[in-house]
Amino acid sequence: MRIVIIDDSGLRATVLEEGLREAGYDDIHIVPPRGAFVARLERMAPDVVLMDLGSPSRDTLEEMLTVSRALARPIAMFVDQSDDAMIGAAIDAGVSAYVVDGLRKERVKPVLELAVRRFNAFARMQSELDEARTALADRKIIDRAKSILMNQRNLSEQDAYALLRSSAMNQGKKIVDVAQALITASDLLGGGI
């Protein structure tokens, strides 16, 4: 079974490809949806095409599937329209799957399930990465605010942090927002570090 993954994100495509290979599929190709990707896809004659639901190139792909004379068999979305739960899970995960006509659903279903799991895992990874990036950026801001307080008011690091925290609590704000306000004010007053 030849599986083509159309994806802009190299990382997500790799995550998906790895999973499929571990599950024993070995005829896998990754095509980024740029330029003449439709012609490339046509030449590959895939049995299953997996694509990110959020990709703006889905309309281009579907048009090709509609008009292509090169594809021997028609190819349509998902495989078993009666399996609402599966389709719902796929859409939630952001996977769209196009499958050639006549391919048995027992053969396609594990591919789709795996794609859903891997898409979900990738989304989790992405949000963890985003969180880690935000946490790092927040810590830098708080550190800068602390050193302003330490310099201007002769506080220890611990006391500077305690002061930031208690003002944040009093104002019902996040510490990072109070820290940012302090930095801005300090910059405006020309006392920035």
């Binding site: 889905r58 389709i87 939630d92």
Partner: protein
């Protein structure tokens, strides 16, 4: 307690009525919290609607007909009780290609028939079959482009290449030389002009003066099961549409739509479509087209069944579906004037008396029979002067032979 409704849209000026219903509080006043779901392809918008991830969608009118007739992936009976706008499309081509056309753009636009013939000549001079971007096979844009080109003897399936791509990728595709022009909703044509990559060749309003554009589509079973919610939503949309049509609000509307949650393009570009001052080519004064896009006046939102049938006639014409009486009836039933009437009966809006009309027969503003109030229909002529009688589809189609 307010009811949550999820509605999918694509980043286009056509989202105005939905965005305003949400941002100006018209929806909340009717007890509806609108969750507008930004989507980047028509395929995904369709899937979200068909598989129930959203309750409604801002849909290309022909796509709603096509999904119902089973022409676009999973078939599903859709129902469109409300038109979100009329007009708003523009065909732009690379300046090199447009050299073969009338150089004065204002004159080019008022004479679509002459321009179509010039276009036919330009095809032969161009270095390849012109590749023209359309947003979807089942879009008003594609249907109108086909209609216009065919009037000059151009076979859109043979003489040019129609390439489907989403509006948001059109400008990049122009820059890369992958397409020679495209037809799309605003502000994408203006964005290509602003980048010096294209100039205006035709606008939708001059091809069909009141062209059906986006509709609000639901799954038919959901619509039938939630009459009260649908009515409240339609009432809030009618008020939002009136707000959008008011020139005093165009400034604020352009600012609102430029927000990254909606269109995410500069407000000046969006404003030009709203005010009907259409960019012609880079560095030139815009051309005035007061009817470039309509939201409320002339009962714009009323879903005439004859318009669903006109769309159907064009799908038949281009061999996308075979004509028979039963299929025509299913296509006509996608538009739901009955729901529109039910929801807006007490709104004070002028309400058309009928559900079908001749399309293309009004050449000057015309007062018509309405259940209440005064209703004046704007001119709705096709540029070639054809008139579509929904009772006589076969005659209309025969007139286009022998193209197919």
């Amino acid at each position: 307690m307010s009811e949550l409704l999820r509605i999918a849209f694509l980043p286009l000026t056509d989202v105005a009525v939905l965005a305003v219903a949400r941002e100006q509080g018209f929806a909340e006043e009717e007890g509806i919290t609108l969750d507008l779901v930004r989507t980047t392809s028509w395929a995904t918008l369709r899937d979200r609607l068909v598989y129930g991830q959203v309750q409604g969608a801002q849909m290309l009118a022909p796509l709603a007909v096509a999904v119902t007739l089973g022409l676009s992936q999973q078939p599903a009976a859709l129902a469109a009780p409300y038109k979100l706008n009329v007009n708003g499309n523009m065909l732009v081509m690379a300046p090199d290609f447009a050299k073969a056309l009338e150089p004065d753009i204002a004159r080019r636009l008022v004479d679509p028939l002459g321009t179509a013939h010039d276009f036919a000549a330009a095809i032969g001079l161009w270095r390849r079959k012109p590749v023209i971007g359309v947003v979807h096979r089942f879009s008003s844009h594609a249907i109108m482009l086909r209609y216009w080109l065919a009037s000059a003897g151009i076979d859109p399936d043979r003489d040019i290449v129609l390439r489907v791509l989403p509006p948001s990728l059109t400008v990049e595709a122009m820059r890369a030389g992958e397409i020679d022009g495209f037809i799309a909703g605003e502000p994408w044509g203006s964005a290509a002009i602003e980048a010096g990559l294209a100039e205006t060749v035709a606008i939708g309003e001059r091809i069909w003066q009141r062209g059906v554009e986006k509709v609000l589509a639901f799954r038919q079973d959901w619509l039938e099961a939630n009459p009260e919610t649908v009515d409240r939503l339609l009432r809030s949309l009618a008020r939002a549409a009136a707000w959008c049509d008011d020139p005093a609000h165009h400034e604020a509307l352009a600012d609102l739509l430029s927000d990254p949650r909606y269109v995410d393009q500069p407000a000046e570009l969006i404003r030009s479509a709203l005010s009907g001052r259409i960019g012609a080519r880079l560095g030139e004064a815009p051309v005035a087209n007061p009817d470039f896009i309509l939201f409320a006046r002339e009962a714009t939102a009323f879903p005439w069944r004859s318009q669903a049938l006109w769309i159907y006639s064009q799908l038949v014409r281009w061999g996308m579906v075979a004509h028979d009486a039963e299929t025509a009836a299913r296509a006509a039933a996608v538009f739901r004037p009955d729901i529109f009437r039910r929801a807006l009966a007490d709104s004070g809006l002028p309400m058309p008396g009928g559900s079908m009309k001749l399309e293309g027969a009004v050449s000057a503003p015309m007062p018509v029979g309405a259940h209440r109030g005064d209703l004046t229909l704007g001119p709705d002529r096709f540029f070639d002067g054809r008139i579509f009688d929904p009772e006589r589809i076969e005659d209309f189609l025969r007139d286009f032979a022998p193209q197919r």
